[in-house]
């Protein structure tokens, strides 16, 4: 099948799965920002995303999309290293205009993965997963659908805040390149648009970063007072 065999086919998979993850991130960011304005509204969303068939299906679809993205990320990166050959240049510099992010997508992706593990352990495991295994009662931090309680708990701890900010920064870099790159892969005609798309990428990545980071920062300062 050309989709899995050809280079552009594999890139298409990367692009579609990437855009899918971007859409999810946008939703997740919007939901988090809600918590700054109203904890009740946020918990309302948390309740919706507990153990309901659509939340479970959504989680499964999301997880498979994520897996596909990561599997192909490794596949492509390995193939690319091989294509580069065993002998490396002793002296080489990235030409001006080449984004740092574009050359380090896998490393950035791995940082995103690590952040994700932390996030799963701290939130998802205690929330959707806890409900899934039938634990609806309060644990140490709060009841599984009391998302705001989790936010308040974790984001009062400085190292957790720092780790999350590093995580979001890696995501920022990944998105500044990923956003326009995905459109380039899809073949968006960009003779004129390429600079605009790059600009939109930066703005978009910054909005996502700002949204996520503001929740961490706001709740950290709230925990101080």
């Amino acid at each position: 099948m050309w989709l899995f065999k050809s280079s552009i086919g594999k890139k298409l998979i990367m692009s579609i799965s990437g855009i899918f993850l971007i859409l999810f991130l946008t939703f997740h960011m919007g939901m988090n920002v809600t918590a700054i304005f109203s904890e009740e509204a946020y918990n309302g969303i948390c309740e919706l995303l507990g153990v309901n068939w659509y939340a479970i299906v959504g989680t499964l679809v999301l997880a498979s999309g994520f897996l596909v993205h990561v599997i192909f990320a490794f596949l492509l990166t390995l193939q690319n290293r091989k294509a580069r050959g065993n002998k490396r240049y002793v002296h080489s510099k990235a030409p001006a205009g080449v984004e740092f992010a574009s050359q380090n997508m896998l490393v950035l992706g791995l940082i995103v993965c690590m952040g994700l593990l932390l996030h799963f352990a701290q939130f998802w495991y205690n929330m959707q997963f806890a409900e899934l295994i039938g634990n609806h009662s309060n644990n140490l931090i709060g009841s599984p659908s009391d998302g705001a309680a989790f936010i308040k708990h974790w984001f009062s701890i400085p190292w957790v805040c720092a780790a999350y900010l590093v995580w979001f920064a890696a995501l920022w870099f990944h998105l500044t390149h990923g956003f326009w790159s995905a459109l380039q892969t899809l073949g968006w005609n960009n003779a004129i648009w390429i600079n605009r798309l790059k600009c939109i990428s930066n703005i978009f990545a910054t909005v996502i970063f700002g949204g996520f980071a503001s929740v961490v920062i706001v709740f950290y300062f709230k925990s101080l007072v």
Binding site: W2, L3, K5, S6, S7, I8, G9, K10, K11, L12, L76, Q79, N80, K82, A83, R84, G85, N86, K87, R88, Y89, V90, H91, S92, K93, A94, P95, A96, G97, V98, E99, S102, Q103, M105, H177, W180, S181, Q184, T185, L186, G187, W188, N189, N190, A191, I194
Partner: protein
């Protein structure tokens, strides 16, 4: 008075594709800054021959930036420190007195070293043979104005056609991808009515060949575009993606 510089060269020497290869250091004195990089290498080789040593093997032909034979990864950049020129158009005035200049061959799995600085770029020819042509019967030359072509299309085709097949894009790419080259070759024909007809077939055949020969997958880093001596744009890569994906979706 003509200005001259003294330089040290660190040149990659490798007897054959199989051997390990290593850097060799040479010193050259009184090189005119008006000489070209390849003239400087000629002087080096003459000096080596006079000393009874093996000259350095490197590719070149037209020496005016149109054939695409010259290669050379000079001080960390394909075609050297100047922008938008080939190695043969690079001048020694771009270097300063006492500088150590590192010269390496293109390094990419699909371009194996033949000897020293000369690499085998046959893979490009194979990609062209897979579909980089228009199959029409030749006959009388048609009138130039018989088929009107919009100016922007003609210009874009001309820009794509300026690719000389030097391989700097592959050499610069961290993924060893040939997408800039292939996209230029597909675009120059896809933009014009005569070539348009076979675009789908061509894009599929050339990409299949490109993948088969072991070039990498493009991740849109843009190093190719930055180092291309002919300023071929990565918007051609977007066009190639588009043509390829549409062709596959139609099948």
């Amino acid at each position: 008075m003509e200005k001259t510089i003294n330089i040290t060269l660190k040149v990659w020497k490798q007897r054959n594709p199989k051997s390990q290869g290593a850097f060799e250091t040479y010193t050259l004195n009184n090189i005119s800054i008006d000489s070209s990089f390849l003239e400087m290498l000629d002087i080096l080789n003459e000096q080596l021959i006079n000393e009874g040593k093996e000259p350095v093997v490197f590719d070149h032909d037209c020496r005016e930036g149109i054939c695409g034979m010259c290669s050379l990864f000079i001080n960390g950049r394909p075609h050297g420190p100047d922008d938008d020129v080939t190695t043969c158009q690079l001048h020694m005035r771009k270097f300063h007195d006492g500088e150590t200049i590192t010269v390496e061959p293109w390094r990419s799995a699909a371009f194996p070293v033949i000897r020293d600085l000369m690499v085998d770029r046959n893979a490009f020819d194979k990609i062209i043979q897979a579909g980089g042509y228009v199959s029409v019967n030749t006959g009388g030359v048609p009138d130039a104005n018989a088929i009107p072509i919009p100016k922007d299309k003609a210009d874009a085709a001309m820009d794509a056609a300026s690719c000389i097949g030097c391989g700097a894009c592959v050499a610069a790419c961290k993924n060893g991808s040939a997408m800039l080259f292939v996209s230029a070759k597909v675009s120059q024909l896809a933009l014009l009515p005569q070539g348009r007809i076979e675009t789908a077939k061509r894009a599929k055949a050339m990409i299949a060949k490109m993948d088969e020969l072991g070039f990498g997958n493009c991740t849109n880093t843009g190093a190719c575009e930055a180092e291309c001596p002919k300023n071929v744009s990565i918007s051609n890569i977007a066009r190639l993606n588009r043509e390829f994906l549409f062709a596959k979706l139609k099948d």
